[in-house]
């Protein structure tokens, strides 16, 4: 990734903001996936029939995602594993979803609270760390 001149002065741009980059080169400039639902903690699972090797238009990063998601992986984990920005990974996952290569399991809705048994399991799990 190459640092770019910020162009017109923007109030957010300084050393703290990090380099101004073009991470969306990988996605051909697309910044939004065609579908929503790739929450940071949505889990992605490669479908059994996925054969990305023969699919046109897929990049090495697509194929790495397919490999990583042979076991369920959270979107945030995939982004960290690939060292790619979350938004880029979302677009790539949208491509894979369109091909039917992955399934997405969305996390529970906003007002969801896990039941007491789950909270107790978390507390005892934390104590055991």
């Amino acid at each position: 990734m190459r640092a770019e001149s910020p162009g017109p002065q923007h109030e957010w741009l300084d050393a703290d903001a990090g380099p101004v980059v073009r991470p969306y080169t990988l996605t051909g400039g697309r910044v939004r996936p065609p579908v929503d639902g790739f929450d940071l903690l949505a889990f992605v699972l490669t479908t059994p029939a996925a054969e990305p090797a023969g699919a046109p238009g897929l990049q090495p990063e697509h194929r790495r995602l397919v490999e990583l998601a042979r076991r369920p992986k959270a979107v945030a984990d995939l982004a960290a594993d690939l060292d790619l920005a979350v938004g880029v990974v979302r677009v790539l996952l949208g491509d894979l979803l369109a091909h039917g290569f992955v399934a997405v399991h969305r996390p529970p809705a906003t007002a969801y609270l896990p039941d007491d048994n789950i909270l107790k399991a978390v507390v005892s799990g934390l104590r055991a760390l």
């Binding site: 703290d16 960290a80 979350v86 934390l126």
Partner: protein, 200 residues
């Protein structure tokens, strides 16, 4: 979640339940230290298109003209068991990255606000945010070497905390201490269960 828990499904393909906990606080309050004391920490890059105006969900025209800024967040994961994982997200410290908080707060179990008694006011925005959104939180007073030791009640008064919000002393470098902060949060969430869940 029942749909992903068929008996015949091999354990390797079961989708775990993932709980999200945010680690917030002012710049330098110890967020990174706490996340790394509790879990393997990895940077997670997120980014925002700076010229967002007119960029609808499906509108990708002219993207090549736009710049993005990359923000790295601290990201950790604690595996409780095969079916249950706790994800920690260190919130971006600078105020101008508030737009990232809404996504982070979405569906979060709760938050830890780290307070540094040398700069107590730095954690006010985090406390305001979680109060307004109805996100359960606890305040961890990070005891830095050389920081003045205040009484917990003095800190509670200074932060104008509701009486039911737990306030605990901690050392963000220490795993045991960090665990106790997270446990106090989960117990706080459990206590709130009987109360109406804020919409929103």
């Amino acid at each position: 979640m029942d749909s992903v828990r068929y008996d015949r499904e091999p354990a390797a393909s079961r989708v775990p339940l993932a709980l999200k906990i945010l680690i917030a606080g002012g710049f330098g309050a110890g967020k990174t230290t706490l996340v790394s004391a509790l879990s393997e920490v990895r940077p997670l890059q997120t980014e925002e298109v700076l010229t967002g105006a007119g960029l609808g969900t499906d509108d990708v025209s002219g993207v090549e003209q736009k710049s993005t800024t990359t923000v790295a967040m601290d990201f950790g994961r604690i595996t409780i068991n095969d079916d249950l994982q706790v994800y920690l997200f260190g919130t971006p410290g600078q105020d101008r990255f508030w737009f990232l908080w809404d996504e982070l707060a979405f569906g979060a179990l709760g938050a830890v606000v780290l307070a540094d008694t040398r700069r107590l006011a730095d954690c006010f925005p985090s406390i305001d945010y979680f109060e307004q959104r109805g996100v359960p939180f606890v305040v961890g007073v990070n005891c830095f070497e050389g920081s003045r030791r205040f009484g917990l009640e003095a800190v509670r008064d200074a932060l104008d905390l509701d009486p039911d919000v737990p306030l605990v002393l901690c050392d963000a470098r220490d795993r045991q201490s960090g665990k106790l902060v997270l446990i106090s949060l989960v117990e706080h969430v459990a206590r709130q269960r009987g109360e109406p869940v804020p919409v929103g």
